[in-house]
């Protein structure tokens, strides 16, 4: 058959793949392969169709066949890229292109593809090497910059030691300077050059570049280059020159705040460093006076149109005090007063003045009385804003000793009164607009939350909720009010209301990473998934969607940057990718999902093995960001580490996957390991690490759970290790399953080599003696009673429903962890062969105690749920809102409606958790 005829036969395969009919694609491939059994393109297409129809094993066999030869033709390479991407085998993809390029070093296209394959895997070292090779071969400038960027990215990588970093920058420098076209021919190249010079502190060269006409003109037009130029000048200590240059720019109407920062820094240049001479001080004194004059003039010209100069004036006075040049804070207060008089009608005034309010006693009392002397007027929006700014500034100046319940109540009442007055101003605004008085309502919320913190009396939270609900009805789009309500309702255990408000904010896309903690932190406390209500688990999955394709997306755009020649964006994109990939929130949500999943899915080896592997991946990362509070403790990395350790250990015990098996069975690349030294330790050692600063992120009850889980694991570990079938047996079983499914043996598993007796039945007896059965440690035996006592104590004291649910759900979690840890000993034959009858008896004792405790808790919660939704409860809710019901607009009916919603929502969660416990007891109680 001719080439054309072959092409005619291949076309329908592509069509079938395009239309998603993988089955007919496979059939078509088989047909062609009958005649051309060595055609790699068709094989690759078949592998693609197989991958897409989830027939991974068969696809892998084909892949191996194809990769055994060197692939160089475009079509096959492109199909294989898709196949290997689908199988997450990026390292194979890189090797494939590397080989192809080696075979055909004269192919520019292959070179570029190889380079991009390395970009996709984030292997910057190879990027640099491939690009250098390409430059030698094809003599194109842009490859020099590819190599430069590769070197810089490798240098910036966390795992690169400082000396290698310098070396890499030097290499980058050599590349740039040896390039025939000078860097200033393109802005992005010029910028890259500057960054390198800055890192290597080659000031003379930087100076030549920046002082040239071209350099000057680039910096005046490009914000990025100008930023780098500014940093270089600062690092060289050229504060004065930079200050003069900035003054010129300001005189020419540039109002970029960075220019003002330069002017201020110039004024204090002579007092930088640790030992400051008297001369330096007096020089600084003079400079401050000059700068004052300069800023005053600018401020006069700008008036209220632009606040930069006035703000810079404030900054100047503040620095004068903090540098010890001026001991008199009166000048600072003067400028604060002036600033407030001029810009008090702007919302940002509070934020502007906030850093200045940390004053000495005299100055502070002057400032406080100035604020107190401001009259409250509600005639215009500007007046209202002034009132708001005064209240906020007063509030942040309050000290703990000044705060009493009476004072807070009085403040709350003032805020409400002013809020109501301010509301009139915005009465004609469309519903989509925010009410200008919103901040006052938020202040009311703060005051009541602070009252609750002081007294632990939850009725203050009712007050806060009512006022905020009212404010929200007036300003439907206020996300700040909603976020505050989410926090309050979670404390009150009205989790469905919290969720409603959270959803109304319409958080999307990347915002999930930064905002979902509001609702998902410790969400398992409120989850009803044990009863089949999957609201929270699906919320977890939805909020994690952004992480699924993100890395591929970002790398795709990084790749485009290289193609188009925009290197300055690339480090940005790489850092963005790193942050999302190593997002703490992502993994906190992942763990929260595991906690919920265990309550509604049967605990079996599928769940255990999968979560074990995933959590181990998480355990190899390092994190960038920090999270929110709930129960007064943040769920940061410490919290995550502690819980992950609990779960990894429990799953490890219950699982038959030891490292050898995992290595064999896991397909695709493992995620990049964090370079941190702790992560390099053996897993066993890492799991045993306990750090006080990490423990501090756990609540007292969570710590109890941790200690209990550790004791339980220590106790049971020897029996697990003894009973766990050897790798050969596990692999033989996996092999059998695979053959049943696909008709093919597992690839890469040589059972004979692993162990000669793989054919033995699953419960091969070991040579060594069974570990003697020991009694459970006291901690293990008594944990559930202890938790029960804690639960009773909370019930009797003033506590929030969320606290009670916290204890109850942690007890339930312990029960489930216990089910995981004792899962292996459920099988009668295992117990018999290994003579673990006595152990099973001990386990039974613990289980039955736990069962009784959970049942009691469940009953109590059910009783509480009935009370929570009752008419009396509503009545007492309304009564405790006395501090606010004097305001006619917060009338009885409105308060009652909030009371009703809160009651119903609480009833729902208490009842649901209670029923879920019953279900879990039934499933694992025996």
């Amino acid at each position: 058959m001719s080439k054309a005829a072959l092409e005619r036969q291949i076309r329908p395969i592509y069509d079938a793949l395009d239309h998603g009919s993988n089955k007919s694609a496979i059939n078509a491939c088989n047909k062609v392969l009958k005649k051309y059994n060595n055609n790699t393109l068709v094989k690759a297409l078949k592998a693609l169709a197989l991958t897409r129809s989830q027939k991974v094993e068969e696809a892998l066999v084909l892949c191996d066949e194809i990769l055994a030869t060197v692939v160089t033709d475009d079509s096959t390479l492109s199909v294989m890229t898709h196949v290997l991407k689908g199988l997450a085998r990026n390292s194979d993809m890189v090797a494939m292109f590397d080989n192809a390029f080696k075979q055909q070093p004269q192919s520019e296209e292959l070179g570029a593809q190889t380079f991009f394959a390395h970009v996709r895997t984030g292997n910057w070292k190879s990027c640099q090497q491939v690009a250098t090779r390409m430059h030698k071969q094809f003599q194109e400038d842009r490859y020099v910059y590819w190599a430069v960027t590769g070197a810089i990215l490798q240098a910036n990588d966390l795992g690169t030691p400082p000396n290698i970093r310098t070396l890499l920058y030097k290499l980058a420098h050599r590349h740039v300077t040896s390039c025939p076209t000078p860097s200033y021919m393109a802005v992005d190249r010029f910028h890259l050059h500057l960054i390198i010079l800055q890192e290597l502190q080659l000031w003379d060269e930087a100076n030549t570049l920046l002082e040239s006409d071209v350099g000057k003109s680039i910096c005046s037009a490009s914000l990025v280059c100008n930023e780098t130029r500014r940093e270089i000048w600062r690092k060289r200590g050229l504060y004065k020159d930079e200050g003069e240059r900035a003054q010129e720019k300001i005189k020419n109407n540039d109002r970029n705040w960075l220019e003002f920062v330069s002017v201020i820094d110039a004024a204090f240049a002579s007092v930088q460093g640790s030992d400051v001479s008297e001369e330096g001080k007096s020089e600084c004194f003079e400079n401050i006076a000059k700068t004052r004059d300069f800023l005053t003039k600018i401020a006069e010209v700008d008036g209220s149109n632009n606040r930069s100069a006035s703000l810079a004036f404030l900054e100047l006075e503040k620095n004068a005090v903090s540098h010890g040049i001026s001991s008199d804070e009166n000048t600072l207060v003067d400028s604060m007063e002036n600033y407030f008089s001029q810009f008090g009608n702007k919302a940002c005034c509070f934020e502007d003045l906030q850093p200045c309010v940390d004053l000495g006693a005299d100055a502070k009392s002057r400032w406080i009385s100035f604020l107190a002397s401001q009259e409250s007027s509600f005639a215009t929006m500007g007046d209202l804003q002034r009132v708001i700014n005064v209240r906020k500034l007063q509030r942040i100046s309050l000290t703990a000793s000044e705060l009493s319940t009476d004072k807070e109540l009085c403040l709350a009442s003032t805020y409400i009164k002013e809020y109501m007055a301010g509301l009139e101003l915005g009465s004609s605004l469309p519903v989509t607009e925010l009410q200008p008085a919103d901040d006052l309502a938020i202040l009311v919320g703060h005051a009541f939350v602070s009252l609750w913190t002081m007294t632990k009396d939850e009725s203050y939270l009712y007050n806060a909720a009512v006022v905020l609900e009212f404010a929200l009805a007036k300003s439907r789009m206020s996300f700040q009010i909603r976020l505050l309500l989410v926090r309050i309702y979670r404390l009150l255990g009205a989790s469905s209301l919290a969720l409603d408000h959270y959803r109304a904010i319409n958080i999307k896309q990347v915002q999930n990473d930064t905002l979902s903690h509001f609702i998902l932190t410790r969400a398992s406390t409120f989850s009803l998934s044990a009863t089949g209500d999957l609201t929270y688990p699906s919320e977890c999955i939805e909020s994690s969607q952004i992480y699924v394709s993100n890395s591929q997306d970002v790398r795709f755009f990084t790749l485009l940057c290289f193609q188009d020649g925009y290197p300055p964006q690339i480090p940005e994109f790489v850092s963005f990718d790193d942050r999302l990939e190593n997002s703490l929130q992502r993994d906190v949500v992942k763990l929260e999902h595991v906690r919920m999943r265990m309550t509604h899915e049967p605990i079996n080896s599928d769940l255990i093995d999968m979560e074990l592997i995933e959590l181990k991946f998480v355990f190899d990362r390092s994190f960038a960001n920090d999270q929110t509070l709930m129960f007064g403790n943040s769920t940061g990395q410490g919290w995550l580490w502690y819980f992950i350790k609990i779960y990894i250990r429990a799953f490890q015990h219950a699982s038959d996957l030891d490292d050898i098996v995992e290595e064999k069975l896991l397909i695709g690349d493992r995620p990049k390991k964090s370079p941190e030294p702790e992560v390099q330790l053996p897993l066993r050692e890492r799991l045993a690490i306990r750090k006080p600063e990490e423990a501090a992120e756990l609540t007292a009850d969570e710590l109890q759970l941790m200690e209990w889980a550790t004791a339980l694991s220590d106790w049971l570990e020897p029996y697990h290790n003894y009973t766990r079938p050897p790798p050969a047996v596990v692999l033989a079983e996996a092999n059998r399953q695979n053959e049943l499914r696909t008709g093919l043996p597992l690839r890469g598993v040589d059972l004979k080599a692993l162990n000669g007796d793989a054919h033995a039945n699953g419960h091969a007896k070991k040579d060594e003696e069974a570990p003697p059965v020991k009694e459970p440690p006291q901690l293990v035996a008594q944990f559930f009673e202890h938790m029960h006592a804690r639960f009773v104590q909370l019930q009797q004291s003033q506590c929030l429903p969320s606290d009670l649910l916290h204890v109850a759900t942690l007890t339930q979690e312990a029960f489930l962890l216990f089910a995981v840890e004792s899962h292996r000993f459920k099988t009668a034959s295992v117990v018999k062969i290994h003579k673990l009858g006595a152990l099973v008896q001990f386990l039974k004792d613990v289980r039955s105690k736990a069962y009784t405790v959970l049942k009691t808790m469940s009953n109590d919660l059910l009783k509480m749920s009935e009370v929570a939704g009752s008419a009396e409860r509503r009545k007492s809710f309304v009564e405790s809102c006395k501090p606010i019901t004097d305001f006619p607009r917060l009338h009885h009916d409105f308060v009652l409606s909030v009371a009703k919603n809160v009651g119903e929502s609480r009833k729902k969660v208490l009842e649901g958790v209670s029923k879920g416990m019953v279900k879990i007891c039934t499933n694992y109680g025996q």
Binding site: D352, D553, F573, S575, N625
Partner: protein
């Protein structure tokens, strides 16, 4: 009064105070990366002296021949930083780059016909209505302002290259086109 600097990918982690506003859409990550990758010199943000993001502008360059122009895709300022001329500054910067770097003929933007406040602001900045685009904002459906809520004004401002000022016209409000006719 604020730091004007290029918008960076990591700013996506910090723009909640701006994007939680109802009228500001939060797009998928690829949307922002497309802009940053292709038109990084037309995307800016303003940061307050205390380090919070105040607002941002995303723009692009498009069109052929005399239609080659800078386009303002999104400009948004957080509620607490409004009435500080931030939008004006960012637009000016975008005009500056469209003129100097891209050598476009004009800069244009779309605005809801019922958004009188914004229209007035843009007029104050030298923009004028070039045409009315029917059902440009189809997603909300016809609201209380009827067609005004759905239709958009395409507003334009000439750059130095358009010496004869051919990209604007005085009777723009009467020139009605359908959404299919605009890109």
């Amino acid at each position: 009064m604020s730091v004007l600097r290029p918008f960076k990918a990591n700013d996506l982690f910090r723009f909640n105070n701006i994007n939680s506003d109802v009228w500001t859409e939060t797009y998928g990550i690829p949307f922002y990366l497309t802009y940053l990758q292709r038109w990084s010199d037309l995307c800016f943000t303003q940061e307050s002296p205390r380090g919070r993001l105040q607002g941002y502008i995303l723009g692009k360059a498009e069109g052929a021949q005399t239609e080659w122009h800078g386009h303002i895709t999104a400009v948004s300022v957080a509620p607490e930083y409004r009435r500080l001329s931030l939008a004006r500054n960012m637009c000016q910067r975008l005009e500056f780059a469209s003129d100097g770097i891209y050598k476009g003929y004009f800069v244009d933007l779309y605005v809801r016909c019922n958004n009188a406040l914004a229209i007035k602001m843009y007029e104050g900045m030298g923009y004028s209505v070039y045409r009315r685009v029917r059902e440009y904002y189809g997603n909300l459906g016809v609201g209380k302002d009827g067609r005004d809520e759905e239709d958009a004004f395409d507003m334009r401002k000439c750059l130095s290259r358009d010496v004869a000022q051919r990209s604007i016209r005085s009777n723009g409000r009467d020139m009605i086109v359908s959404a299919h006719d605009v890109s």
